[in-house]
């Protein structure tokens, strides 16, 4: 009897410990805490990666993606023993204790094969603590798509480890070019597949895509003055939104068919909502002086914009469709280029603290933080659709380049698309 009860207690204890262990294993990272510890991940070269020229470099791309995500510390190959680099990819072949001993939390093992132009990738991610499988997945694609496959694997690993969607598979819209020759481009996040969307051999600026990706809005000087256009990708047709005198800049989409833009002409500035279907516009707000950079919260309930109604550019918000105008920024003499987080908790903007830096604040204007310290002109900050990343341009280094960082300013990385100066980047839907 006594022996039985001891056994039961021991069993119960073991059960609790296992459950606790499982719970610990599930939550890898509290990504929105004030601080979090990055996961150290080891990605040795994939088996078979080097046998086909087209797939060599897959593990490098994966390492780069995981580093850029801000969740991981990627272990350099030089840190890993050759014995570990050479071991098989099956669970039974992985020496977890050895991986653990060099401080690696997760290890990603993959095998790639190319047969008749088709690529197949088999990937496992193991927790070195207990050898449990975090991810086991097979991918098939054309060989030419090897980068995209790798980005998908990276996003899958990020999702498995954190519950957050990665941005490695996303695309970036931006403008690039020389003086007087600026066009709109679209590129994969990693700088591959750069596509020029306009070819007006003029100045074309402020591109924005409707949420469904059907319409591209931009301002172009191709007819000798800055007119606002929308191109419909499905019908390949272009329409005028506004060609009256003055400066027209479209910056946001209220929904799939309504473009919000500002128009400065004469004494006043006006923020319009233009419906692409009916080609009609209505006034959202009109004031003396400057109104610009209108953007809308993800739920469409609030508008933020920049106005100089108190003498210097400051950020204001307004309830939609009709609501009070509220001033959000009071500190400093230059606050501009606001944009909402899709999660609705933050606004990212540019402030002048001697140089023009990226800042965030709560949507009511509280808790303002300066996130960059580039001593240059940073501009056009935008959140990713998950709200975790901010892209922006920086003129640090003499030429405008697109950068990405976490919402809290950590993990800054420069993205490479073209050899030109690049401006006004946005995550494409």
């Amino acid at each position: 009897m006594k022996r039985n009860s001891v056994l039961i207690i021991a069993l119960a204890l073991a059960c609790v410990m296992i459950c606790a262990g499982a719970a610990n294993a599930k939550v890898y990272l509290d990504v929105y805490g004030t601080t979090f510890k990055k996961i150290t991940i080891g990605v040795p070269a994939f088996k078979g990666e080097k046998t086909d020229k087209s797939t060599s470099g897959m593990s490098d791309v994966l390492n780069r993606d995981l580093d850029l995500s801000g969740f991981f510390i990627t272990a350099p190959a030089s840190l890993i023993d050759k014995e570990l680099l050479d071991e098989g990819i099956e669970k039974s072949q992985v020496k977890f204790a050895s991986w653990r001993s060099i401080g690696i939390d997760l290890v990603c093992k993959a095998r790639v094969q190319v047969v008749g132009g088709e690529l197949s990738l088999e990937a496992y991610v193991y927790d070195t603590l207990d050898g449990s499988i975090l991810l086991a997945k097979r991918y098939k694609a054309n060989t030419g798509e090897w980068r995209r496959v790798t980005h998908r694997l990276a996003d899958d690993i990020i999702f498995a480890a954190t519950g957050e969607k990665g941005i490695c598979s996303s695309r970036i819209l931006f403008t690039a070019g020389r003086r007087n020759l600026k066009e709109v481009y679209l590129s994969d996040f990693d700088g591959q597949n750069v596509t020029r969307l306009t070819n007006y051999r003029s100045i074309t600026v402020s591109p924005s895509l409707s949420p469904n990706g059907k319409y591209l809005a931009y301002t172009s000087y191709k007819d000798g003055r800055p007119n606002l256009y929308v191109t419909d990708f499905s019908s390949k047709s272009e329409m005028f939104v506004d060609r009256s005198e003055g400066m027209k800049i479209g910056t946001a989409w209220l929904n799939n068919s309504t473009l919000v833009y500002s128009h400065t002409s004469g004494r006043t500035s006006t923020i319009f909502a233009f419906d692409v279907g009916s080609r009609s516009k209505r006034v959202i707000l009109q004031r003396d002086g400057i109104l610009t950079s209108p953007t809308v919260s993800a739920d469409g309930s609030r508008l933020v914009f920049v106005s100089d109604m108190y003498g210097t550019p400051q950020i204001f918000s307004k309830g939609l469709p009709s609501g009070e105008v509220k001033r959000l920024t009071y500190s400093g003499r230059y606050n501009s280029a606001p944009s909402y987080s899709p999660k609705g908790d933050l606004i990212v903007f540019i402030c002048n603290v001697g140089s023009f830096e990226v800042c965030t604040m709560n949507v009511d204007g509280s808790n303002q933080k300066v996130l960059t310290n580039d001593g240059a002109v940073n501009d056009s900050p935008q959140f990713s659709s998950c709200g975790r990343y901010i892209i922006y341009t920086s003129s640090r280094g003499g030429i405008n380049k697109v950068n990405v960082m976490l919402f809290n300013g950590e993990n800054k990385r420069t993205l490479r698309f073209t050899d030109f100066a690049e401006e006004q980047p946005r995550f494409a839907p």
Binding site: R179, N180, K182, I203, V205, S206, T219, Y221, G224, R225, P226, E245, G246, M247, I249, T251, S262, T264, S265, G266, R267, S269, G289, I290, L291, T292, S293, V306, T312, P313, R333, Y334, S336, A337, I350, N352, F356, V377, D379, S380, S395, E423, Q424
Partner: protein, 180 residues
Amino acid sequence: MKHIVLLLAVMALFIGGCAKKQVQVAPPVTTTGTQQGTLSEEEKRRIAEEELARAERDRLLREQERLARILQDVLFDFDSYAVNSSELPKIEGVASYMKQEGNAKMVVEGHCDERGTVDYNFALGQKRAEAVKSYLVKLGINPGRVRTISYGKELPLETGKSEEAWAKNRRVHFAIDQKG
């Protein structure tokens, strides 16, 4: 006495003209081939055309220089579209030129320095152009003759990163509206 001088002058001109003609006519006479003769005829025409073109170029250059003296860039303070009183004479000069040239139309371009955000600078450039236009209108110029356009910070005059360069770039530039 006066008449004599005039006569001499006319004669000198005439002789000069004749002499020139003789020189020009001479080659076909002295040379045997007709080809060379036509060549020099062409040459003559070419020289005449070139001279005409040069005169035209000089005229345009002088006109441009004259315009450049009249159409001076109006400069602005950072993040401001208020026209400084020191800049007013430049706009007044443009206004009196436009009054002389009753048909001339003007493009008023607003520009900014590289600091600040792209969108805001586009709006700021527009306001700078509007500020200059409204002063021209105040001076009696028909608003229909003045077209405003903002280039934001797209077309700096100077690419340097100094206060000197920035000051030159914060400007309103005048250009004759060729579209009419």
